[in-house]
Amino acid sequence: MTASVKTGAISIRGVGKRYSEDAPWAMRGFDLEAAPGELVAIVGASGCGKSTVLRMVSGFEGPTEGEISLDGAPIKAPGPDRGFVFQDYGLFPWLTVAENVEFGPKQAGLGRAARRERVQEYLELVGLTRVRASYPHQLSGGMQQRVAIARVLANKPTVMLMDEPFGALDALTREQMQADLADIRRRVGTTVLFVTHSIEEAVQLADRVVIMTGGMSHGVPGHIRRIVDIELGEERDPTSTAFTDLERAISEEVHAKL
């Protein structure tokens, strides 16, 4: 699990998306380069297209124009090198926690013993070995999302895409999950694209924050307004002035008139 920070470079160039020929552009002119191991958070109001960006990087949807590539190779379809963590977890309800985590390695053709080891490793990473035989519906939301994270990381992806992963959790669980994600990322070294509504969450976790505005309801395609570097180091104190200043600055950008 040593961090290999060589792979996981995402390149998004001139990407635009519309859902039919005569529909307005949902988002357009999107350029972003994410370095291997970087955590980039995308914030913005509903409908600005931030989730669409994530879904296009995953390959669930294709861009209407522009190019997206991972380590130089264009993205055509979903694949285990780009794990996706959904807001609603997306766990298979008929599989146990361990079987959910084992799902990807099994597809990759890993042998039984290697799979068991892999499952153990990643359940330990998210602190869930105790409930390996439980079914998802028996777990709390926070625990289910941990399973989803373990399930994705068990594929040793170069990129982890997270779409409001903690949006459905209560505030306390959410805080804990943020701390754990920061810790996990330090240990795994995967590039992370993280979509969130919460500016505080973005400042807490990200190396850079991408601020998006616009969207179809504004009559302007969703686009990047600004990209903010977060240089707060590893230990971040949400009550510090540096933190709150950044938070306020980003919030003003998010809410500013177009």
Partner: protein, 298 residues
């Protein structure tokens, strides 16, 4: 709890101070005796009213003349005679087993064939817009034709005998299972398919490994409906040109004007229908080995 957790650096303990032990599934059953007590009054009342109706020769709506009916006790004697023999002078005395067996075999063939075709076809139908567009109009035209209306045709084009009865059973079970499988499969949460895709599962495999388990409740309720209709059409299918079978036995009762025989046949079919339905449920529980796919299935 803390004792088991200390050796693990578990974040979950901190995140969820009351990290729940896996919750028990809600108990669906009330205590057994309570169920039994409640199960009896209604059937007992029905039997009592039936008995009184026969005794006093009531006429019910639809012009049902109860004086024509045997009493519950008569039907009971007939049932005993069918199973044990020696109580009534009848060619059916103690001979019911072969009829039951013949009917069960026909239901098994017809229903089995229907499952084998309807479920895979339903999965394809529910997941492919193209296949749905191709077949939906045809299905919609054929499906409303009552399967009973096929009976005379089946007798002519297939001929009198086993195959035509099995065909009717098959047809009766096929469409409800096809439709409910297609509907269940079309409603698989897209999220689960996305999850499988990003975990590296190829498209064709998702049809089997994600779509099917996720639509088990819908497929299963289709199977139950199909099985019920299979029994219904069995009786129709066995009424002409078949000598061995419960439908044939009932029809023979009609020819001989032995109403207690007819009613005994009805009771046996009812019980078999119930038992095979239970069997289907048990089979599914067995196959799913306690996985939560069955939560929605009683």
């Amino acid at each position: 709890m803390t004792a088991t957790l200390t050796h693990e650096k578990t974040a979950e303990a901190a995140a969820e101070p009351q990290a729940p032990a896996p919750r028990q599934m809600p108990r669906l059953r009330s205590p057994r005796w309570g169920r039994l007590v409640l199960a009896f009054p209604v059937p007992l009342a029905v039997l009592l009213i039936w008995h009184l109706g026969v005794q006093f020769g009531w006429t019910l709506p639809f012009g049902i003349r109860m004086a024509q009916l045997p009493t519950p006790a008569d039907v009971g004697v007939r049932l005993a005679d069918l199973f044990v023999g020696g109580l009534l002078p009848s060619p059916f005395s103690g001979e019911v087993y072969q009829h039951i067996w013949a009917s069960l075999v026909r239901v098994a063939y017809g229903f089995g064939l229907a499952v084998a075709l309807a479920v895979p076809f339903g999965v394809i139908l529910g997941r492919s817009a193209l296949v749905m567009k191709l077949f939906e109009p045809t299905i919609n035209v054929i499906r409303p034709i009552p399967v009973t209306a096929w009976a005379p045709l089946a007798l002519i084009i297939i001929g009198i005998g086993d195959r035509s009865a099995i065909f009717l059973v098959f047809l009766a079970a096929f469409f409800p299972m096809l439709i409910s499988t297609a509907a269940a499969v079309a409603q698989v949460p897209p999220r689960l398919l996305e999850a499988a895709a990003m975990l590296g599962m190829p498209r064709w495999k998702r049809m089997v490994a994600v779509v099917v388990p996720s639509s088990i409740p819908g497929i299963f309720s289709g199977l139950r409906v199909g099985l019920g209709l299979a029994w219904a059409l069995l009786v129709v299918g066995e009424m002409v040109g078949i000598n061995i079978g419960l439908g044939a036995m009932i029809f023979e009762g009609r020819q001989l004007n032995q109403i207690d025989l007819i009613m005994a046949g009805m009771v046996i079919i009812g019980v078999l229908g119930f038992l095979t339905d239970r069997l289907l449920t048990a089979l599914l529980k067995l196959l799913s080995r306690g996985r939560p796919v069955l939560q929605e299935v009683a």
